[in-house]
């Protein structure tokens, strides 16, 4: 029998949220960079077909995808091939082209993305998703089920309006049998670079409360950090370049917990 394209992937994790704009793609990207710095080989599969953000976060929005015998070759971020990417962003003729597809067409591409990307050997495959609990999510979980994903990280911002949607995402995980690795409270506080006053622009604590209420691990608060935003805009390696930045400790801690969870499962 043909070896599946996911056979060499040790751990698969999904980054989910009920809400848009909370930073799923940011967390996916920073997690990949953190894991790379710990010597891991990481792939990112971007299944946000309408708003694919991953290519730009690595300044690879102009890259093309090539085919090989076993399927699509992912786009490598560096010479060492330590991070590889797949996104519909690479398949668009023009970057502003809208993907105006209904569910069935989206489902078909997601199936292909899961089965036909020649990832090779990876320690981690991070699957970045769009907000919601619909076609993309149902199809992705179904297609990944045979490969027994490690679980899902849920991202929220602190305020109740965001947490309200993430509660529904938790239900989605429960109903589809997807293990919840934990909740990340993103955009949690802003420290003014001029005077160091901390302001809770999007409130505080909602993510931690939700984790407690739902009985899932709380992975930590990531503050709003203009250096992080700037890094992402410029496709830079935040983990390497800004270890003294306010978001760094939180992101490193999240990666550590994922590594701990993965090695626990392996043993």
């Amino acid at each position: 029998a043909e070896r599946s394209n996911l056979a060499g992937v040790r751990h698969i994790l999904l980054v989910l949220s009920g809400k848009g704009g909370v930073g799923k793609s940011t967390i996916s990207t920073e997690l990949a960079l953190s894991l790379r710095h710990r010597g891991k080989k990481v792939g990112i599969l971007d299944v946000d077909l309408c708003g694919p953000s991953i290519p730009r976060m690595f300044q690879l929005q102009d890259s093309d995808v090539h085919q090989c015998d076993s399927g699509w070759v992912p786009v490598f971020v560096d010479q060492e091939k330590s991070i590889s990417l797949m996104s519909i962003g690479f398949l668009l003729e023009k970057p502003d082209d809208a993907v105006v597809w209904r569910g069935p067409k989206k489902n078909a591409l997601i199936k292909q993305f899961v089965a036909d990307v020649a990832w090779g050997d990876l320690d981690f495959l991070i699957v970045d998703t769009p907000p919601g609990t619909s076609d993309e999510h149902i199809s992705t979980v179904e297609a990944l089920r045979p490969y027994k994903p490690l679980g899902a990280i849920l991202v929220t911002t602190p305020q109740a309006v965001s947490v309200g949607d993430v509660r529904r995402e938790l239900t989605f995980c429960k109903k589809t049998g997807l293990r919840v690795l934990g909740i990340v409270e993103n955009m949690s506080g802003f420290v003014c670079p001029h005077c160091s006053e901390c302001t809770n622009i999007f409130s505080k604590g909602g993510g931690e409360e939700l984790a407690k209420h739902a009985g899932v691990p709380f992975l930590g608060c990531v503050p709003l950090d203009p250096q992080l935003s700037q890094s992402l805009e410029e496709g830079r390696d935040f983990i390497q370049e800004f270890p003294k930045s306010s978001a760094f400790p939180a992101l490193a801690h999240i990666a550590q917990q994922i590594l701990d969870g993965a090695s626990q499962r392996s043993s």
């Binding site: 309408c50 569910g103 619909s134 309006v161 529904r168 239900t171 109903k175």
Partner: protein
Amino acid sequence: QVALLDIDICGPSIPKMMGLEGEQVHQSGSGWSPVYVEENLGVMSVGFLLSSPDDAVIWRGPKKNGLIKQFLRDVDWGEIDYLIIDTPPGTSDEHLSIVQYLSATHIDGAVIITTPQEVSLQDVRKEINFCHKVKLPIIGVVENMSGFICPKCKNESQIFPPTTGGAEKMCQNLNVSLLGKVPLDPQIGKSCDKGQSFLSEAPESPATLSYRNIIQRIQEYCDQRHFQEEKII
């Protein structure tokens, strides 16, 4: 007389923001009754059809489309001046369906929201393309979360830096109107969480001023269109 229709089926935020969490929809001979915030502001959302805040709507496209059709067909809005439709992110089933189902009537246009950074603009350009594709007029773009003024030292920080010129540059390039920029104000999130009107809670906030200017421009656009249509008739 305003109607607010929430077609974000998976992530319905409007009930909470309007202080209507826990409300249910009532049926009458004339259809579904919207839930009223005030006499002249009625709201409809899938949120009102769910029995618990943990209930997830795990539906594929066709089922979502079915509910949107029902919302448009069966809700007894009465006579209204403005029907505002809040959508989820994306360019998929909900967006195609709402434009299709409303094609028999007229849509004044779309207001498109972005934040200043390129990762957001990148998606918004696609949304603008979507509007062109389905012949949906664009009233204009709003740049949200546009700068933050520290309450202590009053210095401004660009939390979401407009590294590629923000909405302003994008609007220039794509020939659409920039309706305005709304700065970050922690009171906005607080008010939405409590289900209270930010405009009433923080009348002096720079964000309130921005919102009001934007709303005025939208009203002017709509008034102009009606005037033009009446001239044609």
